[in-house]
Amino acid sequence: MDFFLQLFSDPVGFYQSHELLIAQIGINSLLAISIFVTLFSGQLTLANVGFMAVGAYTTVILSLHASTPLVFNIALGALLAGALGVVVGLPVLRLRGVFLAIATLGFGEALRFGVILNLPITGQGQGLKNPDADPLGGVVPILVALALVAYLVWRLGSSKLGQAWAAIREDELAASSQGINVPLYKMSAFVVGALIAGLAGGLESHINFFVDPTEYGTTRAIQVLTFAVVGGISNVLGPILGATILTSLPEVVRQAQDYRDVINGVILILIIVFRPQGVLGGGGLALIRPRWWPRQWTLTRARTPADA
């Protein structure tokens, strides 16, 4: 309760005392958006954590071995992740459903065990020290990046690209009867997701003094999926909300800290069974919307391009 009390009575103090939590929420939100983009196009891929590792390692390796500016390092990390997305996407995106999910999970672990743990430049199993890290200075860039990415992804929704993604998600076969090049648009979603994940990785590496290869495993991949599923994927606020709720939950309910995963697991099952569209999915806020609230203002209405 103290958590909320402080949040509302003393926002500035709250920000100062929870900066790291806020940074973590920002990173997790970015990751959730990256998986949201692929889910929005109807594909469950779990490679995002691998792309995140690419972004993180690229950023730190550059700052250790080259004197390029940080912004450049992070951008290059994101671009490399995106390029790797093309390479991985070419063979993998022919798969569907659980096969796609497993293959991308396999990619993430193969990258971690096969490459990161074996290259001297990545510090192998020891990870990498990042002496230039700036935990507190990293918060603002993270929030700025989050706002920017969220805005862009939101706008993408009504572009030709976003419309094609939605069509593919709803019905691939029908989409191709409208002239939509399904493989191309699937690939574009996968690459955009990889770019965002790479960006998140770069940003995160800047607030940690240490890049730990165990951070980029299956557990985290599944956690990221949880954010998006719990928040809902009908628009970009869903994954952000999901990441915010689940990241701050242990802080809000201190007693729950130990049983965090029990709570996460139960929430996940309840959501998928009873509210498959997620907390924010269509009809989500309708449950708590006051009667006087004009219908058009809520997020519950199926968004149409006409709103744009």
């Binding site: 993408l156 976003g162 419309q163 939605a166 069509a167 076969l173 029908a174 009867s177 409208q178 744009a308």
Partner: protein, 532 residues
């Protein structure tokens, strides 16, 4: 501009051993409404899938205005202006009606991803134009934009969904529109509106290829027709020519044993015979029992049964009965609701209202396994043998609900003696049997459940005429051995030959009832199938 918009020559596609489309050649003139008809499984939808690139061509050529399109991907063919709808509606269910139509404009829309990222309204002008056009298209197909544009596609009624799918196809700006059963499952009023829409669109210059089972619709709007059967084109011409073609009549109504097609057509024998048999026929009145004797001891008694899928009601109140020892047939064109009735009797679908009682068991609430062990066994449409299990294993599973293992083993041996084809192939996977053999296996498997009432759903579906003889021979044989049978058939003449009584089903209602013999002579039956 060449006179032919679409030309098919020698188009062929087989799946495994089945010739789905075999050497089909067609020419569709610019500006026409071209109909494609044929019984279930004739290859119509495969042909549409070949034209639109969903199924790869094995041989032959497909040309759009002289430009070969065979072998291209579906999205490329769509971008050339070939739009289609789907037999089972494939809307973007979670998107709004308006968004569905907007997606349809995909191939005409410039890449505006960067523009859309900007905030100024000036970048959105294109979008406003598109929205205006989409609203126009919605009203074009009869969906008022004010009422419908923001509703999710899945919340629309069935008929409105069909119309929305047409609007979405029109958004492509097509040169050729392929409509795959646009009127399926619609009521007569809705069908009339679809018909008007098709005629209006054509009047505006759109070339249309129409596939439908509703003969009244097809015969009414099409200028040219092609008839497919077993993947081959068996007739081509104007509606009048086609409906008089004996090969078409045979394809639709089937043949009687030992007779050739044309003589079997009831229309040919109709006028003279109509008067004498007329007395044996009654037009069914849904409010009263149509069972001739109205015996209270009927083995199966169905009253006012209504069944549907979601919002679509496929069976709209049917009443009929089956007595012990009878063979009763439900006949009617594809999509009339016959299989839906059987699935409701087997507990696979639950009725919305009405009752079905089989020997004291309420079929509306009993679970399928109870119904089966009570002795009501269905041999489903399409046979559904377990392709990866052997003939013997399939038979053994037929006795799943029985506990008398020794008797079952003996009966399996007996059946394999009786049906030599099965005996010879006992250790072969059922998937390797021919269609007719699979049908006999499916029936034998049904018999092992010790049925007191056997439901046979379309046993002649997709079988060649000689095989149909074989299967009907088996049906007569098991009836003679004392099994009561409820038979659902498209092949009306054949079914009426073995059935003591029959009901003619049309659009979810019982239209006519009478003895098999009387119905066989009745021109109304022909009308129900061919649309007169």
């Amino acid at each position: 501009m060449p006179a032919h918009l679409l030309t098919l020559s020698g188009v062929t596609r087989h799946f495994g051993g089945v010739q789905a489309v075999d050497q089909v050649s067609l020419e569709i003139e610019t500006g026409t409404i071209f109909g494609l008809i044929g019984p279930n499984g004739a290859g119509k939808t495969t042909l549409v899938n070949l034209i639109t690139g969903y199924v790869a061509l094995q041989s032959g050529r497909i040309e759009l205005e002289g430009q070969p399109i065979g072998g291209r991907a579906p999205h490329q063919i769509a971008s050339l202006g070939v739009a289609r709808t789907f037999q089972t509606i494939r809307l973007y269910k979670q998107l709004t009606a308006l968004a569905n139509v907007l997606v349809g404009m995909h191939s005409r829309r410039k890449h505006d991803t960067l523009q859309q990222l900007g905030l100024l309204p000036v970048f959105r002008r294109g979008q406003l134009q598109r929205v205006a056009e989409a609203r126009q298209l919605l009203s074009r197909v009869g969906l008022e934009p004010e009422r419908f544009q923001n509703r999710r596609a899945m919340t629309l009624s069935y008929g409105d969904q069909r119309r929305l799918e047409i609007a979405r196809a029109l958004a492509l700006g097509p040169r050729l529109l392929l409509l795959d059963e646009p009127a399926a499952g619609m009521n007569p009023a809705e069908k009339d509106r679809i018909r008007e829409l098709i005629e209006e669109l054509n009047a505006e210059g759109l070339t249309i290829l129409l596939i439908d089972h509703d003969m009244r619709l097809v015969m009414g709007v099409c200028r040219q027709l092609a008839v497919l059967n077993f993947g081959r084109r068996i007739a081509l011409g104007t509606p009048a020519e086609v409906s008089a073609d004996p090969a078409v009549v045979t394809a639709y109504l089937g043949t009687q044993a030992g007779e050739e097609g044309a003589t079997a057509a009831p229309g040919a024998a109709g006028p003279e015979l109509e008067a004498p048999v007329g007395a044996a026929l009654r037009v069914a009145d849904p409010t009263e029992s149509v069972h001739p004797t109205d015996a209270p001891a009927a083995m199966l008694q169905v009253r006012e049964l209504r069944v549907g899928y979601g919002a679509v009601e496929a069976v709209k109140g049917v009443t009929f009965s089956v007595d012990k020892g009878e063979v009763v047939a439900l006949i009617g064109a594809n999509g009339a609701g016959k299989s839906t009735i059987l699935n409701a009797l087997s507990g696979v679908l639950r009725p919305h209202s009405g009752s079905a009682v089989f020997d004291g068991l309420d079929l509306g609430t009993a679970p399928t396994h109870r119904i089966v062990s009570h002795g009501l066994i269905q041999v489903p449409e399409g046979r559904e043998v377990l392709a990866r299990q052997t003939v013997r294993e399939n038979l053994a599973l037929g006795a799943w609900s029985r506990r008398d293992g020794r008797a079952v083993a003996r009966e399996i041996e007996e059946l394999m003696e009786r049906f030599e084809i099965l005996g010879k192939r006992r250790n072969l996977a059922a998937g390797q049997l021919s269609g007719g053999e699979q049908q006999i296996l499916a029936i034998a498997r049904g018999l092992l459940g010790k049925p007191r009432l056997l439901l046979l759903d379309e046993p002649s579906l997709g079988l060649a005429p000689q095989t149909v003889d074989l299967v009907f021979g088996v049906i007569e044989q098991i009836h003679a051995a004392g099994t009561t049978i409820l038979l659902v058939e498209q092949n009306a003449l054949r079914a009426l030959e073995v059935a003591g009584r029959a009901y003619v089903v049309e659009t979810g209602r019982i239209l006519l009832t009478g003895t098999g013999e009387a119905l066989r002579q009745d021109p109304a039956v022909r009308k129900a199938y061919l649309g007169g």
